[in-house]
């Protein structure tokens, strides 16, 4: 009798263990300090766990630099999480076979261009959650005060831009807020958008991949136009040390600037309350296209890039569950939630016209700037590697916009970086 009851008790215990056994999927992500994005991912985790009671996703949040350093060590040591945050320029992950091929993901729910950005040697590797375009924001009031009207094309020409810079400087205003103090890319937006328009997608790609010389007359001409704006005082005097976060408040609050060239993720900071770094209430925010360049091949060309994404560790034992989680995010509903809450574009297919909420008007204006656009995928540092990337960052993110290197020297530096 006693033995029988012991057997029954053991069987019950085993059954309860089996019932509560869960597959634990680990996830490491950037955005520790970006509450809106973190809330979005945590909400996606809750929804997934509710629909999949046998799976528990354990998330750890980092800031980007700390995350990348931790991943480099963990991937070598075989202790990396099942899913982690990555961006498509991190080709070293793919080249070293550290990521799981995500061909089995539901790609029907994802924009084809976003899939292309995440593809390496024909295989896709990342869920492109965050996408962004380079936008030229402006303060409608300051621009009107200068007597400048944005044309119906939403695009100034180079002469009008020169006029804007000069008029702003006469009024002791900074024409364009931009800072390269803590990031390797914001200062370079000025140059790469201009070069893309002047050269068109094919030749611009040739330039970035070393098939077209930086001494090409069209490149030099474009750089000279930019240099004339820079010399006229386009950027803040603190440009080289101004941090990205500071450049936001430089534009909308103190001291204020007419224009702000930034990723479309501007709004994920600016639409916060002012005490959390957001723009003042009723700030007259406008968006226009980057100025048309003289003799441009493609003034409608612009850069679109994929930012924060999730990838799966090639060594994971929970690949099926990890892919299921990523699939749970690759839906139009998730995309709408992302747009309404995070206020940045996404690589997941979404209907922008259906975005509601208090910022619906903003999305309409954002969509208008992209009307008829031809896209180039990725900013230059996502295309470059090693020395080219380092030289491009030093020259075009920093020294050239700061006016501390001449056009000729900038061209020389870039040609040397590509020399075999």
């Amino acid at each position: 009798m006693r033995i029988a009851s012991l057997i029954i008790a053991a069987a019950c215990a085993l059954a309860s263990i089996a019932a509560t056994a869960q597959t634990k999927v680990t996830l490491w992500s950037h955005w520790a300090a970006e509450k809106i994005k973190r809330d979005f991912v945590e909400d996606a985790i809750r929804r997934f766990e509710a629909a999949n009671p046998g799976v528990k996703i354990e998330a750890q949040w980092y800031e980007k630099t700390a995350l990348y350093a931790a991943l480099k060590t963990a991937l070598r040591a075989g202790t990396a999480p099942d899913i982690f945050y990555a961006e498509p320029d991190q080709t070293e992950y793919m080249e070293n076979n550290l990521l799981l091929d995500l061909s089995s993901l539901n790609w029907g729910g994802i924009e084809p261009w976003a899939k292309e950005i995440w593809s390496h040697k024909g295989k896709p590797y990342g869920l492109p959650l965050e996408a962004w375009t380079v936008e030229l924001f402006y303060n409608k009031k300051l621009l009107a005060d200068l007597g400048i009207k944005v044309p119906s094309s939403m695009q100034l020409d180079a002469a009008a831009m020169t006029d804007l810079v000069k008029k702003a400087r006469v009024r002791n205003q900074t024409p364009m807020a931009l800072g390269a103090g803590d990031r390797p890319f914001p200062g370079a937006h000025l140059t790469h958008e201009a070069l893309l328009k002047r050269l068109g997608v094919a030749d611009y790609d040739n330039l970035l991949t070393g098939k077209l010389s930086w001494s090409d007359a069209r490149v030099v001409d474009t750089l000279r136009t930019l240099r004339s704006w820079i010399d006229a005082g386009l950027l803040p005097t603190t440009f080289t040390t101004l941090k990205l976060g500071e450049s936001h408040s430089y534009f909308h609050t103190n001291p204020g600037a007419v224009l702000f060239l930034n990723g479309s993720w501007y709004t994920s900071r600016a639409f916060n309350p002012p005490d959390k770094g957001g723009q003042p209430p009723n700030f007259p925010l406008g968006i226009m296209k980057y100025p048309a360049m003289p003799q441009a091949v493609c003034n409608e060309c612009r850069t679109i890039s994929v930012g924060g994404s999730f990838v799966v560790n090639a060594e994971t034992k929970n690949g099926r569950q990890a892919i299921a989680f990523l699939n749970s995010m690759a839906t139009p509903e998730t995309a709408s939630r992302w747009l309404e809450n995070v206020l940045v574009q996404t690589g997941i297919k979404a209907d922008y016209s259906k975005v509601g909420g208090p910022h619906a008007g903003y999305f309409k204006e954002l969509a208008a700037t992209s009307q008829g656009a031809r896209y180039y995928f990725g900013i230059p540092i996502q295309k470059m590697q090693g020395k080219q990337k380092e030289v491009f960052t030093q020259v075009f993110n920093n020294a050239f916009p700061a006016g501390t290197i001449s056009v000729d020297d900038a061209v020389k530096q870039m040609n040397a970086a590509y020399a075999k």
């Binding site: 070598r76 070293n96 005097t237 440009f239 080289t240 040390t241 090693g386 990337k389 020294a399 501390t404």
Partner: protein, 298 residues
């Protein structure tokens, strides 16, 4: 013939005392150094290691960014010790001569070294801010507007501006060490000089400096080594820019290891190995060159 048990070496006790220290030294110093040298002959990727012989060394010899970083680091490591120790000696002499407010000055001059490079870096980025930083504000107040500059944004000014920060930071520390050396000088020698009507300048040059020369030498060498390894201040303020004007070997090594979108640890190990040898030779050379040939007697 049997040995006296007292003469026998107590190997058990020796091992027991040496083993912990040897284990720690082997694990945390010897192995990493040897592993770095080993890596420098390989391409070290996750789960893959490939012998490349001297290829990394050959590439390093042609790496203009590395040599630029070497140049900047040597400028820093040569200029800083002279400035720091020179200023520190002046300050220590002022305190030794009991200037009014010496207690306050001793604390005030020593305080910067108590802060980490990260805090110091952030403070000085503010001080050097073109629009509202203290440096330019003072110049504008003095009517020297034309001297206002983007101190760490201009390739010509960035390195001297950072050297100024380390000089500001470390002069106080050197001052305290030199002050201790001055206070330990034999009073009879100083008094004898005073009885011979020896002036301040002559006393300083012929008596004080020779007597504190070992301390000066140690401070120069320590400062030199510290600047050869400098990383954190540069990383916080300029990240090696603009245009590599403040790139040091340490920042370049870090970039190559963690920011050049490659997992390869072989090339960064080569930089580390070569730099280790350069620093070692430089320190040996410096010590030999500055070593006193005659022992002072007093």
């Amino acid at each position: 013939m049997q040995r006296n048990p007292i003469d026998r070496q107590p190997w058990g006790a020796i091992s027991a005392f040496l083993l912990p220290a040897l284990t720690i030294y082997t694990a945390f110093t010897a192995y990493p150094v040897l592993r770095t040298i080993w890596n420098s002959f390989h391409r070290v990727l996750p789960r893959k290691e490939e012998f490349v012989g001297l290829a990394n060394y050959a590439a390093l010899a042609k790496d203009d960014l590395f040599w630029r970083a070497v140049g900047n680091t040597f400028i820093w490591a040569c200029a800083s010790p002279l400035a720091e120790v020179g200023i520190a000696l002046f300050l220590a002499l002022a305190l030794y001569a009991r200037v009014p407010g010496m207690r306050f000055f001793r604390i005030a001059w020593f305080t910067p070294v108590l802060m980490s490079y990260v805090v110091v870096g952030i403070i000085w980025v503010w001080i050097y801010n073109y629009d509202w930083g203290a440096a330019n504000a003072i110049l504008r107040t003095l009517g020297l507007e034309r001297w206002a500059a983007a101190w760490i944004g201009d390739p010509k000014l960035a390195l001297p501006s950072l050297i100024f920060i380390t000089t500001w930071m470390w002069s106080g520390f050197n001052m305290v060490v030199l002050l201790a050396a001055l206070h330990s000088l034999p009073s009879e020698v100083i008094e004898a000089a005073e009885l011979d009507n020896c002036g301040w300048g002559a006393k300083l040059w012929h008596i004080i400096i020779p007597l504190i020369k070992p301390t000066l030498l140690n401070l120069l060498v320590l400062s030199f080594i510290g600047k050869m390894k400098i990383f954190d201040l540069v990383w916080i303020t300029t990240k090696g820019g603009p245009l590599w004007s403040t790139e040091t070997v340490s920042t370049y090594l870090y970039k190559r290891a963690f920011e050049w979108s490659t997992f390869d640890l072989g090339y960064p190990s080569t930089i580390a190995a070569v730099w280790f040898v350069i620093v070692l030779l430089a320190v040996l050379g410096l010590t030999r060159a500055l070593r006193s040939r005659e022992k002072l007697e007093y």
